[in-house]
């Protein structure tokens, strides 16, 4: 299937936006539904965290409003789209059964980001009838276009694995730097403490938080070990 590469899945959805405009508010000009959708998307950039950070297994994703296509100049023919489209493009972990994985992903999106989903899709054609995760899955699938080629230049692990790997890479790089020149027993004891602190097999934490933009807020650990086991601060920032 051209929508997947290994266990990674590329969702491409073109969601038509209704014609027309919102009723003007006092002191504010009327905005077309397409312009209003773009406003809402741009508002997301002002928040400290993207709402998509809450959606499990989102590697990367983007939203844009496509109003038209570019004219290539004479002698090309002029094309004009008759609707604007909310374009939703997501790179996600779907697992081996990709279509089932896509359904789970969209259900998770509804579960964890429903207010955002409702506001972004509010002005899309046919979205009025969407009021459950099942309906949202069906809706997005109706808007989905099939990829002709999907290329994975990264890994296809579950996001929790990728984030744990990144946390371990960061921590072990620091460990290696700080323990240069140490010998035998001292090195072995320090490595033991490192394993206790970083818990390499525990995906719940310590790990990197999805979407973290700075090292100061990158590490999360919902189940920190007792204080006496934490000989080194768990923060990644130095």
């Amino acid at each position: 299937m051209p929508n997947e590469a290994g266990r990674a899945y590329g969702l491409t959805a073109l969601c038509p936006i209704k014609h027309g405009a919102e009723a003007p508010q006092p002191g504010k000009p009327a905005r077309s539904f397409a312009a209003r959708t773009r406003d809402l998307l741009q508002d997301l950039n002002e928040a400290a965290e993207s709402p998509m950070a809450c959606v499990p297994n989102t590697y990367l994703c983007r939203f844009l409003v496509l109003d038209n296509v570019a004219y290539q100049g004479d002698p090309a023919k002029l094309d004009r789209l008759r609707s604007s489209y909310l374009v939703f493009v997501a790179d996600l972990h779907a697992g081996k059964k990709s279509e089932e994985g896509l359904r789970r992903y969209l259900e998770g999106m509804w579960e964890h980001a429903e207010p955002t989903v409702r506001s972004l899709w509010e002005h899309c054609v046919g979205f009025d009838t969407v009021s459950s995760s099942d309906a949202f899955v069906r809706y997005v699938k109706r808007c989905q276009v099939e990829n002709t080629l999907y290329f994975n230049g990264s890994t296809d692990e579950p996001l929790a694995e990728q984030l744990k790997n990144l946390y371990l890479k960061q921590e072990f790089s620091r460990f290696a730097f700080e323990h240069q020149g140490k010998k035998g027993a001292e090195l072995q004891a320090a490595f033991g403490q490192f394993l206790t602190r970083t818990r390499p097999h525990d995906l719940s934490g310590p790990t990197w938080k999805p979407g973290a933009r700075t090292l100061d807020d990158a590490v999360i650990d919902p189940n920190p070990p007792p204080q006496y086991l934490r000989s080194v601060p768990t923060g990644a920032s130095r």
């Binding site: 590329g10 038509p16 990367l60 002709t148 080629l149 990264s154 990728q162 984030l163 790997n165 990144l166």
Partner: protein
């Protein structure tokens, strides 16, 4: 800049193709996907700054129409949609493509209307700029990591967990030797990640606003009037 999420850059390119040509190109893409012809993607693999990328060819009748109230699209052309996530700047990416896999690009955009060929670079740049569409919101789960970091982190984790179980009961001297071998094995994969100087202009604006809000809060706490509030917060 909403096309940027930390180290990732989102490119969107939408280009027309004659409908009959699009049907042919779909067959060509199908062939590229077959294992026996997977070597044709080898050039893409060498561009290690790519996280994920996709191509989708949409015929005029394939644009989603969900309701009778929505007008049918009446387009002369099919359209090829290209969405890519990569690390580095726009120019670095476009130039890398042009230099590393010019024939691959000519294959992937075969006979798209106005396609100037991947080389020379200047017409190719103009074509990309002309057909590029701006992203409004872009999210990355790991803005501080490049694609190479994600791949090397996987190797680090595998090597580390294997090393931990292998050396569990080792004598100190043997452990030290195994540890040095581990560092030797991972030397190309170990590095510290950090934010790019400006993750994005929007993010920089958010941080500046938060800083101003915090300063204003401190001043209010100390009983003085705030000097200047961040304007966007009140909107």
């Amino acid at each position: 800049m909403p096309n940027i999420a930390g180290k990732a850059f989102a490119m969107n390119l939408i280009t027309p193709i004659e409908r009959w040509q699009a049907a042919f190109n779909k067959i060509q893409f199908w062939a590229i996907r077959q294992p026996i012809l997977s070597f044709s993607l080898r050039g893409l693999v060498t561009l290690s700054m790519i996280h994920y990328a996709r191509w989708a060819i949409v015929q005029p009748t394939e644009w989603p129409r969900l309701d009778e109230s929505q007008p049918k699209e009446k387009l002369h052309y099919a359209y090829q949609l290209f969405f890519s996530n990569f690390n580095g700047s726009w120019a670095q990416y476009v130039d890398s493509f042009s230099v590393a896999i010019p024939s691959g690009l000519n294959l992937l955009w075969f006979r798209n209307v106005g396609w100037p060929k991947a080389v020379p670079e200047q017409p190719f740049h103009r074509y990309v700029e002309h057909n590029e569409v701006w992203t409004s919101h872009y999210y990355s789960a790991y803005p501080m990591a490049a694609s190479n970091d994600v791949k090397s982190a996987q190797r680090v984790k595998q090597a580390l967990t294997s090393f931990a179980s292998r050396t569990k009961d080792m004598e100190a001297a043997a452990f030290e030797q195994a540890y040095n071998e581990l560092l030797n094995e991972l030397q190309a994969d170990l590095s510290q990640m950090a934010p790019t100087p400006i993750v994005s202009l929007a993010n920089a604006a958010v941080e500046e606003r938060m800083r101003q809000d915090a300063e204003a809060g401190d001043e209010q706490d100390s009983g003085r009037a705030p000097a200047m509030m961040g304007g966007s917060h009140a909107e």
